[in-house]
């Protein structure tokens, strides 16, 4: 039913499959896994626990399949990407010439922050390009909001057809351009954000920390500590790498506190920065502040245009 990667395809084949029923998903996964076993290719499943159980019940040979080390369903995109790259590197090093991955990606319909996972979907096109990888990102159309489906189509070069076969996706947008052009959504949720509760210009990291602590008294200790850290790191970045005045704005919502740190510069050249550490060298100077923020925030997005800003949200219950 599904076609393997074309023989001449090099590197990462990033494909999406939209399904409308459990049966469809089972058939899809079964064929994918079967082919992988026959080809001697390691296969990873990245579904959540309930879906994995469904698949285990329905498919016989699933035990022969590799699962990624369990990040738990609260895994953040940056953590997931780092772990996948590490896993793929190990597999290639131990001789794999083809790797398969299939799984659901979290989104608003599954209760996850979509902006962060969308950036992940855009970023993997580049971040996983070096691996001999066939990755299928599955989305359950029954619970996926239409705007998310639009975004999914914009970030996957290939779409799997229901009857098998594959089409090159005409709606794919080059990831860098897609992310740069994406308008920032509301910060506090669906409603209008209103003016910030705090608006400071020309802040130092120490001043920023004091602002966060003063404003974040309603947050649990762990969430407040995380917010304080990521804001300090982001302000430090803005002062070191950014240009002009560094501005901090903070909104306190019912269950969520949002901080936007902006500077007047053009922002990082690569809008996917932060999803991976800037460098693999553990001792290289800096370059990990934004990656930290991606790991520790509930949701995070970057916005270009009229300067550059990093928008960070911490939920009270994270």
């Amino acid at each position: 039913m599904t076609a393997g990667p074309p023989a001449h395809h090099d590197g990462y084949l990033h494909e999406t499959a939209l399904y409308d029923s459990d049966e469809e998903l089972v058939a899809l996964v079964e064929h994918f896994v079967q082919e992988g076993l026959e080809a001697g290719e390691p296969t990873l499943l990245t579904f959540d626990q309930p879906t994995l159980e469904l698949l285990h019940d329905a498919i016989d040979d699933l035990d022969g399949v590799l699962l990624p080390p369990s990040p738990g369903r609260k895994a953040n995109p940056a953590g997931a990407l780092t772990q996948l790259r590490r896993r793929f590197t190990e597999l290639v090093r131990s001789g794999a010439t083809g790797i398969r991955v299939i799984g659901d990606v979290p989104h608003r319909g599954t209760g996850a922050p979509w902006e962060a996972w969308l950036r992940y979907e855009a970023a993997v096109n580049g971040a996983l390009a070096e691996f001999p990888l066939w990755g299928v990102c599955t989305y359950d159309r029954r619970i996926t909001p239409p705007d998310v489906v639009e975004d999914v189509l914009a970030t996957h070069p290939f779409v799997m057809e229901p009857e098998g076969g594959r089409r090159r996706n005409g709606r794919f947008v080059e990831p860098s351009a897609f992310l740069r052009a994406r308008p920032p959504g509301p910060l506090l949720g669906d409603g209008d954000d209103g003016p910030p509760d705090v608006d400071r210009r020309g802040v130092t990291p120490a001043e920023a920390r004091a602002v966060v602590v003063a404003a974040g008294q309603a947050l649990p200790d762990d969430a407040l500590a995380r917010l304080r850290l990521v804001v300090s790191e982001t302000v430090a970045n803005a002062r070191v790498h950014g240009a002009g005045e560094v501005r901090l704005r903070l909104w306190t919502g019912i269950d969520r506190t949002v901080v936007v740190v902006s500077d007047e510069g053009g922002g990082p050249a690569d809008p996917c920065v932060g999803l991976l550490p800037a460098t693999d060298d553990p001792l290289a100077d800096g370059g990990r502040g934004l990656w930290m923020a991606h790991q520790l925030c509930t949701d995070i997005s970057l916005a270009y245009g009229d300067g550059f800003s990093v928008r960070m949200a911490l939920d009270a219950r994270t």
């Binding site: 990291p205 920390r209 001792l283 100077d285």
Partner: protein
Amino acid sequence: MSPSIGGMGRAEEIASARGCGLHDHLCWSFASDDELAAVATDFLADGLEAGLRVGIIVPGDPAAARARLHGLGDVEALVADGRLIVDPVAERYADGRPFVPAEQLARCEEALDEALADGFAGLRIVADVSPLVVDPECRATFARYEQLVGRLIAERPFSALCAYDRRLVAPETLRELACVHPLTPTGLVPFALAAGDGDRVVLRGELDVAGATLFARALASLPDPTAAGVPIEIDAQGLEFADHRALLLLERHARDRGMRIVVRGAPPIVARVAELLELPSVEVEVAA
């Protein structure tokens, strides 16, 4: 509770030099002879009461310094009794010769042993060594010496106030030397990294990008582990903030010296960042 170094001596920001203990190591700055005399009197008066031999070491004429210490009582009698020493820097420190930390430390210890042999409970010193640190080249060496003194202070009944003359010493030098003292005047430096007894080190305050160079220099001033394979133990109960750069600096320091660092009593968020960074040579434990 102020974090302590192996149970001895305080580590915090202070507003005065009064009420200091047997194992306290302070940094202070001044811009007039009277200012120095006032803080010295505060520090030494308590020492006299505690049965310590006390002393002050100054660059200029000791007689002038003696005259300003009248707040301690009958200065001439104190000197005659051996309870108070007032000496020039030239006599107590290497005059004209290059400053060698280990040698100077030995002189400190000799003076302490003498005080104990003479029946005192210990030794307490105010030292104005500003002329020795005016040259920026001397900064790093002197900081290393301060750490060795810090260890002696933590291990034996020796307490010291290191006074720096703001008229002579550049602000950057003052900050660099201040941050290797467990006790510093409020607001002078964002953190302190000071050697305690054995392989223990106390770390308090906030570590961010603004203080990164200062922190790197403070790390460079730390003594080596007492034996090969022994980790440096950092008491971080007083650590209020650390960004990822600070943890990378710890890793680099440990890696460059072929040793390990264990950080104890750190805030949970610091342990979390360390976990994400996966540092091979640094282990971070959370406060119990």
